[in-house]
């Protein structure tokens, strides 16, 4: 590439290349030889078993087309997240999908066999947090993980959580999902010795501020080994948990 620049500058010197053209050329050089078609290939290789479509803001027709294209190129498992019931119904007329209502996820193709390091435990503080938890759970399953669900084990009834110490102790990753004051993340973080992903939810009212309180609370967890994703971001937690659970395999 050095040759090119030398040539260019010689061109400037003998007048066959204008200064403006040379300047523009110089600016573009660093990124010039990138062949972006290849990127798509890499991206697929990187992201594990299933391909993910973010369903929200797309029409059912758009979703159908994307799924069909992916399937033609050999993609075996595809999940469509944030897919509401009505749109799922329309999609199902054209494509065979397994629709998980609570998770708001549609699955085209088979879920892969779990090939992660260990089980991913998903715990929620209350029953209202379950939709977020299911989004995380189905995402993790679609990316090749075994999932253990511990729902409604909030800290106001500590014994419910403590009765599941076995699951907590043998998890390779834990996703702790809670609204209101989000204390679940700290309590689990204090008990477990694996990475804990905390997901604040918009469950609560008044000074819960639609998840802000749980978010701040989880960021300040007094337990080490806890990190946080965006409010209600079940997909993000499931995706990250899978990455951790496949950390040596990617």
């Amino acid at each position: 590439m050095n040759n090119e620049i030398t040539k260019l500058l010689l061109g400037v010197k003998d007048g066959t290349v204008s200064v403006d053209d040379a300047l523009l050329e110089l600016k573009k050089q660093p990124f010039k030889d990138i062949d972006f078609a290849k990127i798509d290939l890499h991206r697929k290789l990187r992201q594990g078993a299933a391909e993910v479509i973010f369903g929200q803001g797309k029409t059912s027709d758009q979703i159908i087309k994307i799924v069909q294209t992916m399937q033609k190129t050999g993609q075996e498992t595809i999940i469509i997240t944030r897919l509401d019931e009505h749109k799922a119904f329309s999609v199902q007329k054209k494509i065979k999908i397994d629709y998980r209502k609570e998770a708001r996820i549609g699955i085209a193709g088979k879920l892969p066999k779990p090939d992660g390091i260990g089980p991913i435990v998903i715990a929620t503080g209350g029953t209202s947090d379950i939709p977020v938890a299911e989004e995380a759970a189905v995402t993790a399953e679609a990316l090749g993980n075994q999932v253990v669900r511990l729902y409604d084990v909030g800290v106001a009834g500590l014994h419910r959580l403590l009765s599941h110490l076995d699951e907590i102790m043998s998890a390779s990753v834990i996703i702790a999902i809670a609204g209101m004051e989000g204390a679940l993340a700290s309590v689990i973080g204090g008990l477990a010795d694996c990475p804990v992903i905390a997901v604040p939810t918009s469950v609560g009212y008044g000074a819960a501020f639609e998840g802000l309180t749980a978010l701040l609370s989880m960021l300040n967890s007094c337990a080490s080994g806890v990190s946080v994703v965006n409010i209600d971001n079940g997909f993000g937690a499931g995706f990250l948990a899978s990455r951790i659970n496949h950390v040596l395999k990617s």
Copy 2:
């Protein structure tokens, strides 16, 4: 009193009272016969054993004078809160006080004997919360309560807290003090069956926002029976706990 108004209006009618004067008089009537000297008496009767002086913003001379006046009128126990070490030293030159450095409280006179319903348990999440806890503890003691201190029992090490279930179960009031994510209030609220006063502290950094996160977290506690006072307000918590602990006696 109806007579007075009648008289007033007659005065207006026959011209001996101007309209302006009558108007002003009418406005003042509702509160007219209040004899405010008596209020001071009531106030003392109401507030239990010790009298409280808020030391911050007062000079040591001012504090000395107030204490001496109170003592002359027979007040046996007086506490001075938010009293820094330097000022305490100056006060001690003139008045005999027992200075509790960590609580930043000076005590003139003897602490009263506990006469509350039961013990007040004061728990903290960490060791940095202890100054706030001591402010609460000494306040409660000065107002006639037995205090049980459970310090550094944060939820990241749940076993430390659980090893004190006896104290928690036999308390008549619990004060739960924590910074960072403030989860202690929820966990104690879930274990105890007495009123829990939560005190957020400014302990923490970053997104702890000087106690705001703990405050919001405690307000959203998933456990029932928990209420909250201002950030670092150890005095307020101790005072309120004493009121609850004397609820049938006041």
Copy 3:
């Protein structure tokens, strides 16, 4: 229990127990012998007369089932909070409940006789705060308390509040409910000598920020003996007031 650990380590030594298994076992020990079935019994013993179901987010079918199960186990009084009119109508087809529309509470069974230390006074700043107040009031009644209602006694018309000094003076607990600037809590806190529970409401507009201003205002009350619960949390206030009012009996 020391024996168990000794045994375990001997097993490790002679090879009959793998290191991994022993490690997992050690981690679980501290919580091992907990018999959680008993917890439910305790919980009921602790929480006084009525059992509470949080109705929001549950279907009428779910509510019916829970009530019927509770009644079979001998629970005499059950309240269902945050129960909207429509759902109450559905529930009433299967179960006999007394529906309090303003409080959004359904009551199955009889309200218990008051057995608290004294009356609980519930005061509101305006008429718009009444739904929150009724939630508190019915909750407190269901838990065995006598309730005195002082509605629309906001500080802009101080005389309305002052005309009820008798009730304020003889209360064992006061719940002060207000939106907008929430000044009611401070004024009542200054008059009363019993614990005051402040409930900010989302009443107001503009810079009331849906209850945030009242919340902050109440947390900063210049009167001692005041604590705060979440915005619009009538249930929480009623529940806590009952705990205070039964403090020596639980």
Copy 4:
């Protein structure tokens, strides 16, 4: 002025004025004939008795020069606000000023005789609010008002405030100054029938957020006739009160 524009356009037409020059000229026309020297005269006429210098951020030398210039042009009373003690000392070496330490105001010349409609009442919730109150009070006095000071009449001790109903009822304007929860504004607003200017102060700690809570609280006052100025803005309140108190005379 229409002639000028006509001339200008004719110039464009016959080529003696370029399009660019004409465009620029047209843009400038609306403000062209303003004689700004006169503004200074107006400003002085408008702002009543004393002239005000904002002392903060100015050196003592700068202040001395400004005062001397003003005095030469016949200004009889000049106040310097936000003047710290140290700087006041330096100024006093060159100019005779009456320094009010608590108000942080220096006064050059005599205070004018009160010529307002009635007395301005300045009330504070606590003793820590007094510096702000004094800034308001001295400002108002310097602008020709009689001031009545009611300090430390916060709502936690309602009787202190009620014992001054006479003053409240006969004020033409009231300035209510408080930190913490700022309830004083609402209570005074409910008692008085004159305009009330509320000044939040940064007094308080924790969730007082350096005056934000008092500010929001005062903006949401349930009493009518209350408006608010910036946190700790004693000068602004005193200035506005004087304007109201001279409303028919300006």
Copy 5:
């Protein structure tokens, strides 16, 4: 009243009065002799011409009843604020009211003749601010003021505002109403020499945060003589302006 207390204490001494009863009696003394029926009379005397009903949250039946009661006691002018069109229609079936749609105010009876010190000028930044302005305007008219409307004179087109200098200069009070960045208050505050009441509106989008930006902006006005009321609080501004405009007459 001293006699009563003496008597009470003697009763305690000779055993005819129990200590508890005496204590309660002492607490109630300060407010004992207040005859609150009189308050209503005072309130009416204080608040000038029209009586105000806050329509929001009241049914049309409730409104009708309140108006009829007021009219029976001789009230000539009554305004109902925050009255939506639909409810106004229902009210009009029973009572003759003049409904001002833009102001969302219904007027029963005649508007009084203006008797204030001078005209109240009401200026808005844009046309979207007009509903808030009309609420202020009709309120002020109903309370006996002459109102001058200057709508859509925002600072982005300074000439529109400057062309009304006459009105601005001869006002006794100005109400400056604006959303977005709220700069109108500062510009008018710099031009006028009468009190300026700033009303932030929720007009705007994005970082206008439903009026918060305008509110903060107005509180920080670099012009003196400006104070602020709550977001969209047209009524409050009109009411306060009237108080200022009648300051010598109340």
Copy 6:
């Protein structure tokens, strides 16, 4: 003008002019001779090719009338922003407009030929940002600019952005539009050497806080040469970009 003042003061002296009248006259002098009719002319000259009507909050009838008036006075291109589909349909019955649904802009007349310094590049992070981008794009086109659209080039897939380095390098202005974390502005700011206008959008959920996060992020861009407009303010960005792109021509 000095003469006028002299005359005025002489009038005061000999009694033919009252002091009040003279005072008012003096106050008005500085702005007296402004002929505001001319302003309208200037304004039109300044704002380039098309005239802009803000459609939101205006009825279709109002819009039609304004357009017709503008067209009569010779305005060739008029755009109506924030025009929803339904209203556009009504307007089209009376006036011929080209309605761009995604941009929510109606165009009356022809778009002008681009006469700016160079192309304006408009880039978005995702597909959900396109409506804001189209508002910017059509605005810029209507004001005489060539627009290059680079949509869905968010930083999570850097290669998509890098494959358009040519366009980025040859732009005279770039508008970077993104929601969520708004990182696009910084990355483009680091690559480009022309002015970059960042537009945060309300795209995202949870802690995106309806555009606040993107807004703050863009304001703190570590790249120089970036400035920010309000959330979702596509029009503002397009308008400003055009001003920059015509900077030597206005």
Copy 7:
């Protein structure tokens, strides 16, 4: 354990156990047999190689004592975090520690050999972020990880980051540390296919709000696989990264 309860209830029946005592006993049962001394053992087993002391808020004497006790019980590596230079100097007089000034960490004993899955890459946006990065790096090293440092690779100069694609691609975990707008996390998240831990720093000024902007930005990352810890929490990031990097081994 069921036997115990049976016994207890029989005791209640025949009167040898009071109801109060039985009630208390029942409440304590669930947690009764926990032997908490064992917990300490577990904790040590769980937390991998080095033991961590949080130095802030502890005196050098306290630190020395804790280290000496740990060393006696056989702990080979101990790190002291948040240890300022002055205190480190005092500690070094008694104990041999390797003090890393930039990381503010003291190390007693040898750093362990890396035994994690792969290298941990630590990247910073600027040079001011290095102290936080070093805290993370030394923590990770002390817990048995190989660390690769990529400092000052902020997105404003994308080529600096892209020149390290090799390191990014072969990492098992990446810690992305940035202040200001925090865009680094998104760009790295889009390039890498391993878990990314984002650490917002308080670097920046104005609307960076001491790390809040970077925090919000990182939580909203458009790239998947990113989670966030508290502002400036280098230790937490290093600790979590180590947990992920040892996920199969703990």
Copy 8:
């Protein structure tokens, strides 16, 4: 490059390349051929006349070294921003710099001749905003622009601003700098027809929130053509203004 990938996959097929190595290679491909040394060259070409060093957080020794290196490579003008007086003094011992105290900028070498499109006008609301303004001014001058300073022309005294209409009308870019309520940006935006860069400053107190209010206000400017940079970011404004003023030349 397609060949390389083909070769790579063939290697995988015949076993000479491991799957892991091939995977890593594929991931790196897209960015492989970038020659980053060239970037530095581009960067210099892009950024116009002077090179900028951010002085804050650098020692005087570091600054000296960077300047000397730059000078050796032929850089004629170098500015050092955020350079405090003390550090400037140290630098001056080794390098000849012209230190502008108010702007906190040191200049090594000569300022270039202005070669921009027109003058850049820099206006401030008050005198306290001048340091930020000078940072902008010196930056712009160092980058080859003519600067016109209009200081202390805040909107509370509109005539001061209006007397400079000539300068405003003939500017190619305007930088409007103000704290408090930041109204200056809107007023200038309404008068000018060139791009306006608004810089909020941290000047003010109370609800100015260290520049936040001015920032929000400026983002919501009702005038078109205004964009905003970070609080107190004088450098950023000067840099951007220069880019705009050289838009056709870069």
